[in-house]
Symmetry: C2
Subunit: 407 residues, 2 copies
């Protein structure tokens, strides 16, 4: 059966001429099997970092427009080289940058969103039996300027193209061969999932399992694009499919993620009045500080405490904003802790099933891990624990849930 | 007086962050003096060679379309970095690639010609007082694909922009600070010319004085663009101005050039009949072999000899074409000589003044140099001599003409 396949290969998959030839062979193989192929590439290896360093050598905080103008050349080079490699294997190929594809994006340099894709040129090339190689990570805004879609956004380019072209599948190749029930480096018995739902994937991704760009998953969910994560080193391995529902029956447990890039901040003795949380978090938002787990104590009637987590890089800025506005907000003191980790368990129907949360807490209790904060959603339970207990806790929870599922 | 100035800086002038800052200061200086500035850049240092090598690592003869797609990234990187450098100095700047400028070119990848430039976006940016930094060497064809304009064609981009924008002057900065009466490495007493005519410059350039891209000079002549060659290492040095007429009175002698990349071929004993030269040279043209000095002997009534020169790289092909078609053309034998050099003297009114040619021949005779071929045009006399006599001959002729001009 002829399919329209969109594939995306990351920077390490096209790092040098040898890698490019290997990927080219994979692409040509699918093309020879009769499939129509659209391939999205990132820049080679650490090209984007090298270009960013070149810019910072000239100006520590370069114009975002000019930085985008510079960075998009990385992907353009990769697609041109890939087209040459495919030609060498005797197959037709055409490289395209965002202007040529017609990837219209918003104007926000460095972090633009795709507004629309005009697929006419790709469609025409596919009709002529050509393989189309598209520069990921980039778009054109309404001024005709190049914009980039944010770090790792080549995934988003691939999914957007798959949606617009009505592709049968969008395959994302990376050095992660699929989604595991936990990080195999921490939990050796972790196993690869044959499939997972969009929502579970979103929770996993936001929890630090840096496998797939979150916006890509959101877009895939919205447009019902069938996503498959595959290994770029072992092409023939089965990957993990991301789709509407993970299985016919709801999986209790589909994954566990640990995020160490997290610091806990507590604001103590907040005067209890309406808009309390608003006051605190609007100030942080103004400074572009993202906060995660938020927990507000019930309080003693007069004052309350609010705790939340931020990424390490935002800790200093967050503390500064709070101190600067202590009078206005009205609180006694702040405390913080950087030696913490977030541990999340993801699975459909997590919190609608009593057993799940308590099993998690039981596992943590059994291995003597103290819980600082707890947060939960429909399909996720997250705890904040001491960083040095994270691996032990992950293994204990994984074992517990694997047992539960076998029961 | 406010002027519209187009400047072009070559690859060595923007090779690293330090060079870029230096050039940025020069540009901002002119901008602060009230001038409107459009700056054309080549790719940094040997970027184009590095990219070409990357392509050849994948395919020895890569698709020209894809090679252009790859190569144009070099200039795009340079203009983005330059805009950042200018911002750092507190001046407004906007980088543009060929798509953004609207440089429409023919489809011939690797060697396209500029068809039209739509200057609206540049004009708008200049009205907003911005410095505009344009990627040289590139154009867009009617399919929306990137094409390159041939090696060294950033000069052409600069002149074309100057013509379209009606610039007051087009300054070409390179490591050659102007046009000298001879190569100072060969003729130490050679002096820099304050000005030279377009035609003289064209003759000099085609004779191997690789200072300025020939198409750029031709275009400047056609559109009456005032060109100035200046030093990129000593910005304050006076350069050489290239304009309609070199001075009010015709200069007898404006330069001397030596070209060693030349081989002489003679076709002996050609049967004398109409179309003789046509037969020989149409066959060479079909093989894309450029011939230079052509000389046909008066002959003895039955047979004639034709001699001409080609670049070394074309010698084998030229001899092969001639041998293959010996029957059809009708000649006895071919001879050739690679140990020769072309020595040309350029100046307005060269051949309309008896004294000039004879002075040249006298100088050669005085230093014992034998002349193989002679060719002359309105403003040039060229002789083919032994290669090992070229330096000696150049010095002798330079001395002779300098004397003549002082008389």
């Amino acid at each position: 059966m002829t399919m329209l396949i969109v594939q995306k290969y990351g920077g390490t998959s096209v790092a040098d001429a040898g890698c490019i030839m290997r990927v080219a062979e994979r692409i040509v193989q699918s093309h020879r099997a009769g499939h129509k192929m659209v391939v999205v590439l990132s820049a080679q290896g650490d090209t984007t970092d090298i270009l960013t360093a070149k810019a910072r050598e000239i100006a520590p905080d370069p114009s975002k427009r000019e930085l985008d103008m510079l960075l998009v050349t990385g992907e353009q080079q990769a697609v041109a080289l890939m087209a040459m490699a495919i030609h060498k294997l005797g197959a037709p190929a055409l490289s395209m940058n965002a202007v040529q594809v017609g990837i219209e994006a918003t104007s926000l340099y460095g972090n633009a969103r795709i507004r629309r894709i005009r697929p006419e040129r790709i469609t025409r090339a596919l009709e002529l039996n050509s393989i189309v190689i598209v520069a990921g990570f980039q778009g054109v805004n309404r001024y005709g300027d190049m914009t980039t879609l944010g770090r790792g956004a080549s995934d988003t380019t691939a999914v957007a193209l798959a949606a617009v072209l009505g592709a049968d599948v969008c395959e994302i190749y990376s050095d992660v061969s699929g989604i595991f029930t936990a990080d195999p480096r921490i939990v050796p018995v972790a196993r690869k999932l044959p499939c997972i739902s969009y929502d579970e994937m979103l929770e996993l991704a936001s929890m630090g399992a840096q496998v797939l760009h979150n916006r890509a998953v959101e877009m895939a969910k919205r447009h019902r694009v069938k996503l498959v994560l595959r290994s770029s080193s072992r092409f023939d391995d089965e990957g993990t499919e991301i789709r509407e529902e993970s299985t016919m029956e709801k999986l209790l447990f589909s994954g566990l993620a640990v995020d160490r890039d997290v610091a806990r901040i507590s604001v103590m003795g907040l005067v209890d009045r309406p808009g309390l949380a608003y006051h605190v978090f609007s100030l942080l938002a103004k400074e572009k500080i993202s906060v995660d787990i938020i927990l507000q104590t019930a309080g003693n009637g007069q004052t309350k405490d609010i705790s939340f987590t931020v990424a390490h890089e935002h800790l200093d800025a967050a503390l500064k904003v709070l101190e600067t506005n202590r009078e206005q907000i009205g609180f006694d003191m702040t405390t913080y802790d950087t030696q913490v980790a977030k541990l999340s368990v993801i699975g459909a129907g997590m919190t609608t099933n009593y057993g799940v949360a308590s099993s998690m807490f039981e596992a943590l209790y059994d291995c003597g891990v103290n819980i600082h904060l707890i947060s939960s959603s429909e399909i996720k339970i997250t705890v904040l624990i001491d960083e040095n207990a994270a691996d032990r806790a992950a293994r204990a929870i994984h074992e517990k849930f694997t047992q539960l599922m076998q029961d």
